[in-house]
Structures are given as C-alpha cells and as structure tokens.
Symmetry: C2
Subunit: 198 residues, 2 copies
C-alpha cells in the first residue's frame, strides 16, 4: 500500500539528493563552469541520462542545487547569529571584560573557517549567488536565505542587521582572493568595527 509507494518515492528522492550533492561537490571543485551532465553523473556515480531524467535541463539542476544550498546557508548563519547574540547578551549583562570568546571572536572564527577549510564551499555559494543575478529563475531561491535571516531580527534593528550581513559578504568576497586565507585574528579588527554599535 503506502509503504511500497513511499519506498519508491523515497528511493527516487534519494537519487535526486545524491545528484544535488554531487553537483555541489563539482561546483566546489571546478566552479559552475565545470557543471555538465557528464561531470555530475560521474561524480554521483550514476549514468549520464539519469541527470536529464531527473532534471530536464541544466538550469533546473542548478536551481535545485541553489535551493538546497540556500537552506544550508540559512540555517548555518542562523546559528551563527544566535550564538553571537547570546554572547552579546551575556557580555552586556555582565558589563565589562570577562573570560570566554566575544561575539566578534565567534564571528571571526566562522569567517576564517569559511575562507580556510571551507573555502571551496564558500566560493560555490557566491558563484551560485552571482548566477542568480543573471537568471531570474534562480533569484527566489537566492533571496530566500536573506529573507529568512532578515525575518528573524527585530524591526528596529533592520538596517543595522542588513549592513552587518553586507559587511560579512564583503569581507568574505575580499578574503577569497587572498593567496593565504586570513586568520581569525586578522579578521577580528574588521569584525569588531562592524559589530560596534553606533
């Protein structure tokens, strides 16, 4: 009855997600330019025509990848903000200098990680993001993670939060063209300045 149909569907979905994950790996390694039916198929270990079967066109595949990627990004940044906030709250309540990492420390560490070990992933995300600016079909997916983030801040903070996110974006993009990824310590001053209240 249901279990069979679900098993069928689950298996179909599983292959789809495998393809998506393979696509993301290809983008991380070779960029969006390296995404072809054949490279993705080889990466996923599935026949070439399986890609065209599940995703009619390459654009569909990229859209699906971007959506999946956006979800990951949103949840990730969500937790980053959450942690930064609780630290900030702690810091304010206990007034002055105390042990433990500050919000700026936390954010700097995450940026350093995004530019170091997770560099490929960061590049992939911005490539997809930029691709969205060229193809309207991708824009809703690209906007989603921004919307998710902005929807969870108080309204009187909206501008400050938007500038904060813009600053993060800028620091990441500028960090991507460094030969050596910047350390958290090098990023700290900029992040501190960015977080400093007006």
């Amino acid at each position: 009855m249901r279990s069979q149909a679900d098993g069928r569907k689950v298996r179909g979905e599983r292959r789809r997600t495998e393809i998506i994950e393979a696509t993301l790996r290809v983008i991380e390694r070779d960029g969006v330019a390296g995404v072809t039916h054949r490279t993705v198929a080889r990466e996923a270990g599935v026949p070439t025509s399986s890609i065209t079967y599940h995703y009619a066109t390459l654009d569909d595949l990229l859209i699906a990848t971007l959506i999946s990627c956006a979800r990951d990004m949103a949840t990730e940044v969500y937790w980053m903000i959450d942690r930064a906030r609780s630290r900030e709250g702690l810091r304010r309540s206990s007034d002055s200098t105390m042990g433990g990492p500050s919000a700026a420390d936390e954010v700097s560490a995450l940026l350093a990680e995004a530019l170091g070990p997770r560099r490929g992933r960061t590049m992939a995300e911005y490539e997809l993001y930029l691709l969205a600016s060229r193809r309207p079909a991708l824009r809703p997916a690209a906007r989603r993670w921004l919307d998710v983030l902005t929807s969870m801040v108080r309204h009187d903070d909206e501008v400050a939060f938007r500038v904060f996110l813009a600053g993060i974006d800028g620091l990441l993009i500028q960090g991507l063209i460094d030969d050596e990824p910047p350390s958290a310590a090098e990023l700290l001053p900029a992040v501190e300045y960015l977080l400093k209240p007006r």
Copy 2:
C-alpha cells in the same frame, strides 16, 4: 623609421584593446560562461583566429580583461571616495544641516546607478572578481584595485575604510538579486548607517 614601427604597433594594440572591450561587453551580456573565441570575435567584428593570435589562451584573454576592468574600477571608486570626502569635510566644517547632497546621498546614488543602468557592468566585475578566487593567475589583477584604494587612506582609518568597502560590496551583491534595482532612496539608510562614525 620609428613612426612607421610605432604606427604598426599602435594598430596592433588597438586591435587588442578592441578585443578586450568586446570581451567585457560579452561578459556584461552573457556572463563569463558566454566568453568563447567565437562570441568575442563576432562581438569585436574580427575573425575568430584573431583572438587566438593575440591571446594564446582564453585565460590570457580573461586576465587581460580583468586587468583593464580593475583599472577602470579603481579610478571610478577613487573619484567616488574623493567626492565623498570633500563633501564630508564640507559638512563637518559647516557643522550642521545645509543644502547639497551629503556623502551618503552621493554614495547611494552611485550604488543605485551601479545596480540600475550599469547592472551588467557590475555583474561582470563581480564575476571576474569571483573568477579570480578560483584562478590564482587572476588574483594580482583583482587585488590591485583594492590595494589602490586602501593605499590612499590614512593609516588610522584602515579598518574603518576596509569595512566600508566590504559593506559596499555586500550591498551591491545583495542588490544584484533584486528583481527591481533598489533606488538611491532605498539604499540611503544602509549607506548612512555604514558611514556613521563609531
């Protein structure tokens, strides 16, 4: 004698710059993915093999385009900063509210222009910029305009200026995925917040 040889060389250089300009137009229209020997040749109105003759490989062509583009960007942002500064100086010296656009107005207008009429150009710049993060050969060219800009600020401003540039980058990139390019008025609050001194 010299004049003849120079005339020859000038003509050669002229064709080269024509190819570069055509490449930039192609990137503005179709993105880096649309750059092929043939598309660029058609855009420039030259035979296909002329591209391979002047630029051994496509990478060389992209590098040359990025260098040319970086020079334009640097000079452009230079004047933006220059104007913003003089406005700021004027504003500080005459203390409070007065007629004329503020620095934030000026910057917002430029951002709105970059996201509106010059949208294609802005996309092209960021695509090249992101491409540089993947190909080390392009990085020096991509870093140049950042270096030019950071070299012309006083040292005690360095962090603030870097954050300012990062914020600009972020606002531009986020603005690129809007269906309707944001107006200067919409951008103004964020720019004002970004410019607000700590």
